[in-house]
Assembly symmetry: C2
Homo-oligomer: 419 residues x 2
């Protein structure tokens, strides 16, 4: 235990020292590193796959299910995808050092804000080894050092990827310690990392709800996270029929296991008889289980009765809860009570209702006439995302490079003093 503590402390101190160097590195050096890492990943693909096979073998021996083994697996295709991701991050604009709003004040000083790295980012993730490369790339480009703690089941893969990342940093003249992998599967290491508030500025968890709840309970460091994605689509009685069907189908059935999938559909009573039978038929064709309020059941006899618990459940599955509401006010009230503040959408052609929905729904993404599935860093033009935040402070919604930075005030004077 003492060993783990001093090991994690040393990792933190090295990260803090490296963060000063990476924070002032110029854009060209950071891009050189990213491109070098991409090239090495592709060149060393065969060796990576050999290391990954050790993890897969151990995983099979431990009885991991097919979905977990699938997430764990590295293939020629996934290596290519990691390398492409690194090159895309290299192509993104460097946010660090940008000065905005520099304006003269009556005193004669100029005041503006400079975008700067947060410092040291701790990434705690589960089985997907590609996170090792993806997260390191975003931290590197945004001028942050990072400490990576992957799942124990992917330790061989993570070690191999981290070694390539560190070699690429060194090749570009940057400190290898800007990316450190916690090289132990001891679970106590996570607890120690979460107490390292002196050396780690923010924690980004990537994984299931259990992992995130543990981190929230233990961390002394701010956490960028979302816990649930209980996303709502409200079909207003002034909705365009085709848009409503299209958006609801996409939001529910495009992918089931994702945080921006619709989990609850709200339908205005005046349009419910027009929408629900048609939509219900299409959803059933896709094999979606329907759970509804009493008014829904009257229109969709094949649905089962929703319980109170359904309105607070993120299914992450082919299940949809449906509620018929009187109109916008009742929809807003339902969302206020049950939303996880991730993403909500209204379908309407009514200008004033659209404007009210945008203003009054307190979620990280609020949409009019678009599928909730668009709540994504790439779709929003952030380039890539390290995660999605449903918290209000700092980053909210998909978190890209900018969310890994902060702003400090800069003041330029010519000898001014305060009178």
């Amino acid at each position: 235990m003492q060993d783990i503590q001093s090991y994690i402390l040393a990792v933190g101190e090295q990260a803090r020292a490296a963060s000063r160097l990476i924070g002032r590195a110029d854009t060209a050096a950071k891009n050189r590193a990213l491109n070098a890492i991409a090239a090495s990943l592709e060149a060393d693909a065969a060796a990576l796959i050999v290391e990954n096979a050790k993890d897969l073998e151990a995983g099979r021996a431990k009885g991991l299910d097919a979905a977990m083994l699938d997430r764990l697996a590295i293939t020629a295709k996934s290596v290519k995808s990691m390398a492409d991701g690194l090159r895309e991050v290299a192509a993104l604009a460097d946010p660090v050092g940008e000065i905005t709003g520099l304006a003269y004040r009556p005193s004669g000083i100029q005041v503006g804000k400079m975008r700067v790295p947060l410092g040291v980012i701790g990434i705690i993730y589960e089985s997907r080894p590609n996170v090792t490369a993806d997260a390191a790339a975003l931290c590197l480009k945004s001028g942050n050092a990072c400490i990576l703690r992957g799942g124990s089941e992917s330790i061989h893969s993570n070690r191999a990827i981290a070694a390539i990342v560190r070699a690429g940093l060194a090749e570009a003249g940057l400190p290898a310690d800007a990316v450190q992998l916690i090289d132990t599967t001891d679970r106590a290491a996570v607890g120690e990392l979460l107490r390292l508030d002196k050396h780690v500025d923010v924690i980004v968890p990537r994984g299931g709800k259990g992992l995130i709840e543990r981190i929230m309970a233990e961390s002394r460091i701010p956490v960028i996270k979302h816990l649930d994605g209980i996303c709502h689509v409200y079909i207003d009685d002034k909705a365009d029929h085709d848009k409503a069907i299209r958006i609801a189908m996409n939001a529910k059935t495009h992918r089931y296991g994702v945080c921006n999938a619709m989990e609850t559909l709200l339908v205005a009573e005046a349009i419910a008889a027009d929408i629900l039978p048609a939509l219900g038929g299409l959803l059933r064709e896709k094999g979606v289980e329907l759970r509804g309020c009493a008014k829904t059941l009257a229109l969709l006899p094949e649905a089962t009765a929703a319980t109170e618990e359904d309105w607070d459940t993120e299914y992450l599955a082919a299940i949809l809860s449906i509620r018929v509401v009187a109109g916008l006010d009742e929809a807003l009230e339902h969302i206020h009570r049950h939303s996880s503040q991730h993403t909500e959408a209204i379908v309407t052609e009514d200008y004033t209702r659209a404007r009210r929905f945008l203003r009054e729904v307190d979620s990280s993404s609020v949409m009019v006439n678009a599928s909730t599935r668009f709540a994504d860093g790439f779709e929003y033009g952030l380039g890539a995302e390290i995660g999605i935040s449903t918290d209000k402070l700092h980053a909210r919604g998909p978190v890209g490079l900018e969310g890994l930075t902060t702003q400090k005030f800069v003041v330029l004077g010519d000898g001014q003093i305060r009178g």
Copy 2:
């Protein structure tokens, strides 16, 4: 104890409910309330002063010292100043609802960010009753509900001011519960408030280091705060002599007890013999005690030897520590080790050194050729400040209306779905 707990919970629930109404209130209504409160404060000045007299009497009986009684006192002049402050906040631009960066994406959706209130702000402060009006005004204008917990020694004054604020809200058709004063002097109320993470989005402490340390240790809610202001001025060997003297004198002697006062002066060795004797004489004339490194003592025999502790001390007094450094690198290293990340300034005419200082110093305000005393919301053009943050997440530096808001993503579509 159970009573305090349910009382604070009820306050939190009322604040959350009120925050939804104040969050969507239009600018005109919020300004009407602010102006009504200002008018009532002036109209009721005599009654306020009577209530304040009860606090002063109790304070004298408790043996509060002259400085504390001075902070506690409400006078005709301080009422005018509170009212003027409210009218200034009314005149500030409303940050809520502003949409920025709304741009089309290849998918056809438009994505932008809307500025929205944080929700519920808890303000915990000590003896100055004017905070009751000032903080309420900033929260109100930024569309937030607030819960105010003032010092027990100013309870009568705070009650009287809060009643006027709540009447002004009601007069403008806004919920009185958008501003609630915790109406008990029981210290357990603070602990309960700090655990109310479901209903309070951020805590802003206003007070001494002891208060802030207690809040940091206990709070389950994010805190916007600064603990220390150990501000540095570095006089480079390429500094203009007059600017260096002027800035150092202003940064140290303009006011002693403020967080943006200089506490440590760093002087490049090549210019030390030119600067220090002249500056030392001026500082002595003002009665400033000087504590220096060995090289400083050689130039300023009247200074005493600084200990290691001096470099980490916020004097908030007429004391200055002085260190002669080899040059910019050593200055940056000293600042990295000893700064509280509040405000640092360089005095130099050298372009490249100025640029390095701005980029490499990791503080909430970084200045070139200007006095650290400018680190202030009003001087920066924020209008007013609720506090200064030396943290990196969310707000950094002086926190004005914008720091009491966050941004959510808004997406406008025409039926787009994700492919």
